[in-house]
Amino acid sequence: MRKRTAVIAAVAIVAVGGGIAYAAWSSTGAGTGSVTSTKELSSNITPVSGEGLYPGKTVSFVVEIDNPNAYPVQVTSISAGSSLLTEGGCVAGTVTSTASAANPGGVIQPSQKGSYTLQATMSANAADNCKSQTFTVPLTATLVSAA
């Protein structure tokens, strides 16, 4: 009779012990790591077309802006510009271009180009040595990630 009591007690303790172990079964985890942001690559602006300038005349000209980055970008502005001294001696500033509208639009995908039309005007006072010249107008565009 005493033996039976002892065995019952043992079974009861085991059952309780097993219950506690199951309820306590949880764990936590931890660790550290990192992630890195990228640095943009500069786009280039290249002329595509634009001709027919004479003193006082405004013409449209087209430029292309490329995207060498691995993510899409959007042009937010293209600056106004003023021509450099030409090979034929036409003075700097003879041709000016107006800035683009804000956010001229269009997303340029990675490794693709976008075309933008601007306006250029030749000064009414342009000298004869400005005939048949090619004008270089430095422009600056600002772009943002369109990812």
């Binding site: 506690i20 306590a24 931890a30 660790g31 992630v35 942001s37 990228t38 943009e40």
Partner: protein
């Protein structure tokens, strides 16, 4: 009575109580797998982490959160967020599993956040599957 006590001790030694003392509750580890680069404003990258279960029993990871640290005085930590674990994952005993986490950079992230490394701190919880 002595025999009964021996039976009791033997039963306790075989019960789950003793094995439970050394198996559950061991912390699992979370560590980077490879590099995660190329974050840009508005963009996402995948940060793969390896979750290792040092227990002698399977675990089910139910939560894995990431805290992002400030990479520089001029770039706010909240420029980057890491999505929590999408769904619970079971990891076999003494094994590990790779988990992809999605990292997003806010479209409003300033230029001062370019080319920086954001420190990440992982934390998680697991239960018995």
């Amino acid at each position: 009575m002595r025999r009964a006590l021996i039976v009791l001790v033997a039963l306790l030694a075989l019960s789950p109580v003793s094995s439970a003392a050394d198996s559950p509750g061991k912390a699992f580890t979370i560590a980077d797998v490879g590099t995660a680069t190329g974050l840009v404003p508005g963009g996402t990258v995948t940060r793969k982490v390896r979750v290792t279960n040092p227990n002698n029993q399977d675990i089910k990871v139910t939560r894995l959160d990431t805290s992002v640290g400030r990479p520089s005085p001029n770039c706010p930590a909240n420029a980057v967020t890491v999505a929590p674990l999408a769904a619970p994952i079971v990891i076999a005993k003494n094994k590990s599993a790779d988990v992809p986490l999605t990292v997003r950079m806010a479209a409003s992230a300033p230029d001062t956040c370019k080319s920086l490394t954001f420190p990440l701190t992982y934390s998680g919880t697991a239960i018995k599957p």
